[in-house]
């Protein structure tokens, strides 16, 4: 393929150093992958291979231990997300890079429509316009309208996940990181989510995703990257020594 990737991950590794316990926990190890606009790259591998860690490293929720995370911005600049200053990362999160995790973090007193519209509020969009877009997204997710005005605190796992997805998709990022976005959805809702992700792909959104089910990987992924379980602690220690 001659297309330029929107994200190039080169030799990314991450381990956690727990001072209190005097332990080093290895996670992702020498990960290399490319992500392209309008394509979905799936991360596969056994539990503990550091799949989620790669996503969190790209979003900078985790600091990198080594490697480069080269992201090409809308203006064509290449930024190493592992090294970029905090304000640049915050700006990219606001405008270009979205993250949908398995868990919904929302205030127990915030209405679902506002939870979903939050990324648009942060972009400075007016309240009612942002809520209109949030409503469309919630409807597309098949979340009953009677739930829009109340907090997702009491929702079922699948409902929460739909809210989470709606929030991740609403701001239409250029690069979307998806961590098991369909994990607790029934088959019908999974189909809807799959169609939404296909739509986003057709719109040119680049995606890096972790799916639980191999058949989803088969259906959705344009590229597949398999991660190896991490090296033993001793080997990591030898490497950093």
């Amino acid at each position: 393929m001659n297309e330029i990737p929107i994200l190039r991950v080169e030799g990314y590794s991450k381990h956690f150093e727990l001072h209190e316990q005097g332990k080093i926990i290895p996670s992702s190890c020498d990960v290399n992958l490319n992500v392209y606009s309008g394509r979905l790259t799936a991360l596969i591998g056994p539990t503990g291979a550091g799949k989620s860690t790669v996503l969190k490293g790209i979003y900078r929720t985790y600091l990198s231990t080594s490697g480069r995370l080269l992201y090409r911005t809308v203006s064509g600049h290449e930024v190493d997300l592992a090294q970029a200053d905090e304000h640049s990362i915050l700006e990219l999160r606001r405008t270009e890079i979205g993250f949908v995790t398995q868990f919904l973090h929302a205030l127990p007193r915030q209405a679902t429509e506002d939870v979903v519209a939050q990324p648009l509020f942060q972009k400075g969009m007016g309240r009612s316009e942002a809520r209109d877009i949030a409503h469309k997204m919630l409807a597309a997710m098949n979340l009953p309208e009677r739930l829009w005005g109340i907090s997702p605190a009491t929702f079922s796992g699948g409902e929460k996940q739909r809210v989470n997805l709606a929030r991740g998709l609403v701001s239409h990022p250029r690069l979307l990181l998806l961590d098991e976005p369909t994990a607790s959805l029934d088959p019908k809702t999974t189909e809807r989510v799959v169609r939404l992700i296909e739509d986003l792909k057709n719109d040119g959104v680049a995606m890096l995703a972790i799916f639980l089910h191999p058949d989803l990987v088969e259906r959705m992924a344009d590229d597949v990257v398999e991660l190896e379980p991490p090296l033993s602690i001793e080997k990591v220690l030898k490497e950093i020594a």
């Binding site: 727990l18 985790y62 600091l63 304000h87 915050l90 205030l107 942060q122």
Partner: protein, 276 residues
């Protein structure tokens, strides 16, 4: 993005100070008292930038120097060394080289401060409305009905019943006093707001309402804020970036989610692990 504040190497020492003060204090020595001259190194080498519309959290236990840093910036304390530059409407102010009148002018017009203790932020001898009027009068607004109108709208914005504006602050609950303090801080539309442990000691439900109010104001007015707190929940809720302080030093800083999920320093790891 517009920079609002740039702080470089801010230090504050209480006491005579000596050549080894900075060498013999800090997290690696487990103290902020210089063993040589008994001076207290309240803050040392604090540097950061703050941008428009951004909330920076400063986290640490009591005595870590987090309030000292903010109080130096609001001119409550004089720093021992360091530089702070405030960028406002195309002008730059070298904060620690201004004369007293210039400092007062900035504190009254362009900065807002909300203290943990409402007695520091409010004059308890005059009414809630009077407290707000006082700040407006200092900002050279002297039309009575304009002052009254702005006080009323600010108090309703912070959900203090306007019919109570002629009461003394001592008649109010703690949460209400904080709301009056916030209204007073906001009445001049300051581009920079300091919040020093504003929800500490309040009931949980009152805390939540005050924090929601602060978030709404930040989104409405794009105010840059520095939030000083020992409460991880407040940091998580409000701050985009966070600095962690211990014994007067910044031991770690980063994006708030990174500080909470991947803390690097042993102290921060312990702090995060002790969250309820």
């Amino acid at each position: 993005m517009d920079k609002v504040l740039g702080v470089k190497n801010l230090s504050k020492v209480y006491g005579p100070g000596c050549a080894s003060c900075f060498e013999l204090t800090g997290p690696e020595h487990d103290t902020n008292i210089c063993p040589n001259c008994r001076s207290v190194v309240a803050a040392h080498d604090v540097s950061f930038d703050l941008y428009k519309g951004e909330i920076l959290g400063i986290m640490g236990e009591s005595g870590s120097g987090k309030s000292t840093a903010v109080k130096c910036l609001y001119f409550d304390h004089e720093p021992s060394s360091g530089r702070a530059t405030f960028f406002d409407e195309g002008r730059q102010y070298d904060l620690f080289n201004l004369n007293a009148a210039q400092q007062r002018r900035l504190a009254n017009h362009r900065f807002g401060m909300v203290y943990q203790n409402p007695h520091l932020g409010l004059n308890f001898d005059i009414t809630a409305g009077g407290n707000i009027a006082e700040r407006l009068l200092m900002s050279e607004v002297d039309n009575f009905s304009e002052i009254r109108g702005r006080a009323t709208s600010l108090l309703s914005r912070t959900e203090v019943l306007p019919e109570r504006m002629d009461e003394l602050p001592k008649n109010f609950s703690g949460g209400m006093q904080q709301r009056v303090q916030i209204a007073k801080a906001l009445v001049t539309n300051p581009p920079l707001l300091f919040l020093d442990e504003v929800t500490t000691g309040l009931d949980l439900s009152v805390q939540a309402a005050i924090l929601d109010l602060i978030m709404e104001i930040q989104q409405e007015k794009d105010t840059a804020m520095i939030v000083v707190t020992h409460d991880l929940g407040v940091i998580r809720l409000l701050a985009g970036r966070t600095m962690v302080m211990k014994y007067g030093r910044v031991i770690e800083s980063g994006l708030t989610d990174q500080i909470l999920e991947d803390p690097q320093h042993a102290y921060t790891q312990r702090l995060v692990a002790s969250a309820l």
